[in-house]
Each structure stands twice: as C-alpha cells, then as structure tokens.
C-alpha cells in the first residue's frame, strides 16, 4: 500500500515527520488515559493548563488596542547620539539598571535628542524597542525631532565597524 506522501507526490521533511509522530503518540497517550479512569486528573490538569489565565488575556487585550508595537524604529535607536567617553558622568547611575555609568569598563551612554536624559545605551535601546517615551519625562522621543536626527551618522558608524 502506498503512503500518503507517495499518493500526493509530496515529500515532507524529517523534522515535520518527527513532530507529527510525537504529536500522534501524545494523543495516543491522551486517549488511553481517557479509558483509564484513574488518570482523569491528568487529563483535567492538561486541559486546565491550556486555558489562558485572566492576566494573560488582559495583557493580550491591552497589547491589542495599542495598535501593535509602540516602540521606535530600529534606525532611530541606532542613531541615538552617544556621549563622548570623556564627558560621561561616571558617578551617575543609569536610571534604568541603577548601575553607575563608571562601573562599566567601557561605558556606552546615550542621550535622548529631545530631552537630553542619559541612559546606558543597552538599557535605553531595550526600552525604546518597546515604547517610544523617555522613561524619565515620558516625552515621545521620536515624534518631533525624528527628522532632525542625522541618520547618516549611524551608517557611518557601521562602516567604521566594518573597516576599523
């Protein structure tokens, strides 16, 4: 007897086949456990674990009405002006991770163009990829001044990385 794949002229890759076999054996176990009344609890627990918690539902709802991602475009984050090493206030802590800028051997500190608040580049990049507001003053960081920022600098820096 020919297999499904032969009849339909398709070849599934091995990963998908293994996955399907796994799923099949899981369902087999599941149905066996239905016949065995002692393991009813297992089944109930399994289904209970599939129900989405109210918190998660709320989170999804909240993320839905925000029209997707409110973060800044990656080009904007890449183009954030960095403070020259000699001007970094080493004793000041980053408001996000609370580590002093100077605790890092090679601190990378970014300054938001709109409000001039300073953060570890890594910390602020992570935040701006989620939200477009300054953590300190809540101003939208990329609304007014987005066009004023020299994006070409970011490319220039990338080139430096390539050749330097």
């Amino acid at each position: 007897m020919s297999t499904y794949e032969e009849e339909h002229g398709t070849h599934e890759n091995n990963d998908a086949a293994t996955e399907r076999r796994d799923a099949r054996s899981q369902f087999q176990t599941l149905f066996q456990s239905i016949e065995n009344p002692q393991s009813d609890n297992y089944l109930i627990e399994l289904f209970a674990s599939m129900i989405i918690s109210p918190e998660l539902q709320e989170e999804w709802l909240n993320s839905g009405d925000s029209k997707g991602n409110k973060g800044c475009p990656q080009e904007f984050i890449d183009s954030l002006p960095r403070i020259p090493a000699e001007q970094i206030p080493l004793k000041e802590p980053c408001p996000i991770c609370y580590e002093k800028f100077g605790d890092d051997e090679y601190p990378l500190v970014a300054e938001l163009p709109h409000c001039h608040h300073k953060f570890d580049l890594q910390c602020i990049s992570l935040w701006l990829s989620k939200q477009n507001t300054c953590p300190l003053c809540r101003d939208a960081v990329n609304e007014k001044n987005f066009d004023d920022i020299d994006v070409s600098k970011a490319e220039l820096e990338e080139d430096w990385g390539m050749y330097g």
Binding site: I96, E99, C123
Partner: protein
C-alpha cells in the same frame, strides 16, 4: 540585568530600613516578593494589615511586575475582591523602567487613600463612591474588613 537590578533594590531596601516590609519570598531567585502593608493612618484601613503579592516578569524592569492583594482581603473600588487584582495605571500603560518595587508599593498606598470611581473592579464600592454615598461606602468597607479580617495582621493568614 534582571537579577542584578533586583539585588540592588533589595540591598537598598535593607539599607533604608525597608519601612514597607518588601521582601523576596524565595532566596535563590528574586522573582516572588511580598509586602505586608499597614493600612494607612486616618484611612478606613487603619489597624489592618494587607499582604501584597509581587511577581517579577523575566524582562523586568522593561515590563512592570504583577501586583495583587491576597484574594478576599482588600475592599476597595479599584481592587477585585475575589482575585485581589488591582487597577493601577503605573502597573500598566504608565509603567516606566525607572520605577522600583518601593515606588510601586507607595503607589498602592496612595490608591488606598485616593480611590478612583472611574475604573472600578469592585462595582458595589465603585458605584457608592461615584454616587457620593459616603456613609454607604464607608459602612460597606468596614463590613468587609470586620467580617473577613480581624485586627492586626490576620489578613496574612487568610489565603
């Protein structure tokens, strides 16, 4: 990042006297915290203790912690009585990664003193508050408190 920031917060709390009793429940990871909150003076909650459960997400402080009261302990317009979930803007859309656990607890205390009738999770109390029925509102909160808690700390036992 997650853990070192929480470790810093924990050290700072100890150093500053930790007046709100914010403590991690598990020592090995700092993901589960609780806070024994004293009902603010001159509020209806004075003389009662309330336990806040704080759950830290993986990407804290980029995401806010989940904060709730122990179910059936907090009668308040902005707290769901049955689940203990509370409605607080700084824990949702107004979250900022500069906030820390102590600030959140301070916000919860402010919420206890300044209930908001516009976004009620406890509909009875929310309605009484909006209608301006002070005696009804105060009476219902006292009823809840005295029938579900006894004075000084028994809220912690009710789980």
């Amino acid at each position: 990042m997650n853990n070192s920031r929480l470790l810093k917060e924990w050290k700072q709390l100890i150093k500053s006297g930790n007046k709100y009793n914010i403590t991690p429940i598990t020592d090995e990871d700092l993901t589960h915290w609780q806070c024994i909150l004293q009902g603010p003076n001159k509020s209806l909650y004075q003389g009662f203790n309330f336990t806040l459960k704080i759950l830290i997400p993986i990407d804290y402080p980029m995401s806010p912690p989940q904060v709730k009261f122990i179910p059936n302990t907090m009668p308040h317009p902005n707290v769901d009585w049955n689940t203990g979930v509370l409605c607080l803007d700084v824990l949702k859309n107004m979250w900022s990664p500069i906030f820390n656990l102590q600030y959140i607890v301070e916000c919860v205390i402010r919420l206890l003193n300044e209930p908001n009738g516009d976004s009620p999770l406890n509909l009875e109390l929310g309605t009484l508050l909006r209608l301006g029925d002070h005696s009804g509102y105060n009476g219902l909160i006292k009823y809840y408190l005295h029938h579900h808690q006894s004075h000084h700390g028994d809220a912690n036992i009710i789980i």
